[in-house]
Symmetry: C2
Subunit: 240 residues, 2 copies
DNA sequence: GATATTTAAAATGTATGACATTTGAATTTG
DNA sequence: CAAATTCAAATGTCATACATTTTAAATATC
């Protein structure tokens, strides 16, 4: 055993990628700001344009920067939102690594708890938004607007729980269920008549967390069961 | 208004990326399989090597393929695990888009529910693993092994809930808390003595979901409060 | 014949130079 | 002053050459 350690041969593009990523994480570049241009990066890192471009491309694919072309173009730091979580979830779903049932079950278990948190944090401003959303649920019965209208309350409650992680998770689940619903376009008034959220919203506005949790669970239990059934029938019709 | 629609100028590399991604999503390439080599892709898409390489680089950064060099190298389809969710969560955390408290709160609300589900699905094989993990919690008090040992039960329970989405979420939260713990390296036996999980595991093995949920909540409430306090003190010491 | 060693081949990685395209800003023109 | 034009700076694409890595086959060595 020699006292020497192997010189780890890191690929140049990977090294550049890591350094840039670190800089971004350290806050050296803030959201909206621009990374140095390709030419400057070439000079800074002493590598070819190929390497610089591939590194930046990787940053873009990672969702950290957005590349714009043109005179004032460049790699702009993206505001790191929770969109990444949502998109990762979607990908898993569409690669059949996650079933619709799993989403529904998770939602059934998590969203009531979020409703409870929302009730504990409800301000007058929130209350107003909730009332408005409820009153507008009947404004359209056409797809895809109706899905947006009838799920608006769910989004508002997710925003109210004061926990961005939970907000992100819940929103991604709502989106996925919404997408499935849009695909099959069942009669909205049959599977999800307007006004179903009224009792939940009442409880939230009253600050009654326990009741909000209970009512949300009941609501989802009914709705998701129906939705799953629709999806099941669809798959059966395909098989026959 | 002319009847014409603008010809959207999609960048070639983006187009190639999308087509490859679609193919992967459609199951045209299974995990472990290899995408065509650069040369073949050049011929297939009629683009330059630059475009092909940047596309594949983007696929790699998206976590869909892993590139290997050498004679039998190429872009190999990765088994799409939930690792992507975890990494997205980590990034958000390290960019200060998510606080430690938010993670703790989410975990406190979700993991007890997962423990309940685990209790409802507990097989004899699972029970054996749980008992073993409990018995080994004292095998090391050194970092980082101790963190692994003392969190093993949590991982097992996450696996047992029979919902891969919940499993992924919980695991990523455990990892983040573990990482924080490692950073400060408090005396393990003080903040998390061995045997704390025994009562939870008992309940799970007995199939008592309600009790498992309750005990997990109590356990986490204590542990996470302490952890948050440690982190708070650390930040204060920095400020002074 | 078994085992090292060498060689060859196939794949990705990097460098370089040229040109194309996009886009905003400076400049000209009416 | 406003509209049109030109210009310049940035990214996007192409083509070619060579470097590096890795495996497998060919070859030499014992």
């Amino acid at each position: 055993m020699t006292p020497f350690k192997p010189v780890k041969q890191v690929k140049a593009s990977e090294e550049v990628f890591n350094q840039l990523k670190s800089a971004i994480f350290k806050g050296q570049y803030l959201a909206g700001e621009k990374l140095p241009s390709e030419r400057e990066l070439i000079a800074t890192f002493c590598v070819s344009r190929t390497v610089v471009r591939e590194s930046i491309k990787a940053l873009e694919a990672s969702g950290l920067v957005q590349i714009k072309q043109g005179a004032t173009g460049g790699a702009f730091i993206k505001e790191l939102t929770f969109e990444r979580l949502t998109s990762a979830t979607k990908d898993l779903f569409f690669m059949n690594q996650m079933t619709f049932s799993e989403i529904c079950e998770a939602r059934l278990n998590i969203e009531p708890m979020v409703a409870r948190l929302a009730a504990e944090n409800c301000t007058e401003e929130c209350a107003e938004k909730l009332r408005l959303a409820c009153s507008k649920e009947n404004d359209s019965l056409e797809y895809p607007e109706t899905v947006m209208l009838r799920s608006h309350v769910h989004y508002l409650l997710a925003d109210m729980c004061n926990n961005r992680y939970l907000t992100a998770i819940v929103k991604s689940m709502i989106q996925l269920v919404g997408r499935i619903t849009e695909e099959f376009q069942p009669n909205t008034d049959e599977i999800h008549p307007a006004g179903l959220h009224d009792v939940i919203v009442e409880a939230v506005i009253a600050g009654d967390g326990a009741k909000a949790e209970r009512e949300m669970y009941l609501h989802l239990k009914t709705f998701l069961t129906i939705t799953q059934e629709i999806e099941r029938q669809y798959r059966e019709s395909l098989a026959s």
